[in-house]
Subunit: 307 residues, 2 copies
DNA sequence: ACTCCTTACGGAGCACGTAACTATA
DNA sequence: TATAGTTACGTGCTCCGTAAGGAGT
């Protein structure tokens, strides 16, 4: 058994059991990958693949198990290579982050600015995706870690660290009647058409249940995955926005006004998560530190101060 | 990086950083292993070994990390091979057990008898050792699992399952005055010279603290790692034996008599432990089941009935 | 007809063994 | 001097690529 055979197995699965495609991704010809797979099956003495004639269409039970172990083995290889890189190219390398739009635009910039100052030689790569995609990315080691508010805490293969807590603000065009509501309550907010995050993003579901428990039916006229879209439609006059507080900036949004809603809506925790068996290089650990540190400096509510 | 290079690394460490010896164990010549190690270092770009001239005398920090990952990688390879074996040679294979003398002689025979009936094709290999050695054996995958009373529960890389609980009996030659003591108490036992298990074996330390807490100083004239030795010296008239209850059998020991001490000495739990990332073949799982099951059938106290 | 996988075959590269050299104890 | 490790070099194996053949869509 060779690592290269396991590599082919993983690539095969990731290419939807298309040997040709897998080979391309590995910069090999089909026949090479085909041989790897045949060799594996021969050595193990078991069918690993379900076939339709010559075509591979899936894995057998044994194949699933082997694939699982193959992934682990390749992850370990990466760890070993990272140990090497850490000593050779100390302070330089690649940092691959997966995150949502909101984090990427409104939270990470400050963190990344500080990080770049400490590690100017580290190349950054930000992958944007849905929370589900972010889990997938970090589980398959296509990013070093993912940062977002949902999903991350629940996966057993991930180590998830709470970074900071946040809540929501209401935004509206200056002069909008909602801004004059006193006191501002959930009931009153429900009298206006609302624009907020799509289910599965940025704590939207969490918020929804809060309304439901209060017996309220908010009139959500539009949902979006990212804050900029919400702002855009608030500016269009389509309604009142409910966004993460850190996504409002008086400089960038001089035409909008906010009201803090943290006393009436649930607090959210943003997590950073990485694969629990992953070797973390020094700069990767530092980045996580900064994530917590920077938020603290900015005066946002840090987790440890709560509870 | 190739698995074979990692194999050489692990073999090197296990042979005390003697390349020649490592090569022999791998059925290779020195130069081959030497090259593997050189290749690894070159690919990682880092010193992995501390050297004294040409001789390797230990690992650098990086080397330690790589070794650790190498072990994991090789364990995964074994898992994959086991998946294959499970499907090819179903019901046959090798079962490597590590255990202490007492378990091997007085508990396992019945389990193994039942196991052999179900899996006559599985070869058995029993490795005897101290609890510390048993941990080492199972951590380095030189046995499939270890069975004993100490140590196993405390290692994070092991999955330890409580099998059954037991306590001690006193044994003495027929007619020995201790057998007439009524009621039999810890104090009275302390009036006789005692023979029991060596510290670190079969719950000896646990028992010792019980005496100490009662303010008693037992007169232990001899300790031994296994029960047969204890019986031998009891027969010599050297003193009174304190042994695991299951180690007495009226058939084998017609010249000895016992008194149950379970009301005055602490209960012990015997564990079976295997490496937590290990793939368990069907017959290996079955064996663990049997361990619990057989003890129940024999009327011994099963864990779940307690507490 | 096109795509996809397998098999056969050849060349380049590499892994291991032999052996000579170097260094440690 | 004996033991241990590195380096050089040759041979045989193997890995990948080319190419031809069969199987599915």
């Amino acid at each position: 058994m060779e690592l290269r055979q396991l590599t082919s197995l993983v690539a095969l699965e990731e290419s939807g059991f298309n040997v040709t495609l897998a080979a391309k991704q590995l910069f090999l010809v089909q026949s090479a990958v085909s041989q790897h797979l045949a060799q594996l099956e021969q050595e193990l003495g078991t069918q690993l693949f379900m076939r339709k004639g010559k075509r591979l269409i899936g894995l057998t039970a044994a194949g699933e198990q082997v694939l699982n172990y193959a992934r682990q083995a390749l992850a370990i290889r990466e760890n070993i290579l990272d140990v090497g890189r850490e000593h050779v190219e100390e302070g330089s390398g690649l940092l691959r982050i997966g995150t949502t739009h909101t984090q990427a635009c409104y939270v990470l910039p400050a963190v990344i600015r500080a990080f770049r100052k400490q590690f100017p030689q580290v190349n950054l790569q930000i992958n944007q995706g849905t929370p589900q995609q972010l889990v997938e990315l970090v589980v398959t080691d296509r990013v070093d870690f993912s940062i977002c508010t949902e999903e991350l805490g629940e996966h057993s293969t991930l180590t998830a660290i709470p970074c900071y807590r946040w809540n929501r603000s209401l935004i509206a065009l200056k002069g909008h009647p909602v801004l004059s509501e006193k006191p501002l309550s959930l009931e009153r907010i429900c009298n206006y058409p609302l624009i907020t995050y799509t289910f599965g993003f940025t704590g939207a579901n969490h918020m929804q249940t809060t309304f439901a428990r209060a017996g309220l039916q908010p009139n959500v006229v539009l949902t979006a995955a990212d804050t900029d879209v919400i702002k855009t439609y608030v500016r269009e006059g389509m309604g009142v926005g409910l966004i993460a507080s850190m996504a409002y900036s008086p400089d960038l949004d001089p035409d909008l006004e906010t009201r803090d809603l943290s006393h009436m809506l649930p607090w959210e925790t943003t997590w950073v998560a990485y694969h629990k068996d992953k070797y973390l290089r020094r700069y990767q650990k530092r980045f996580i530190d900064l994530l917590e540190q920077m938020i603290l400096d900015n005066g946002a509510t840090k987790l440890t101060e709560e509870s």
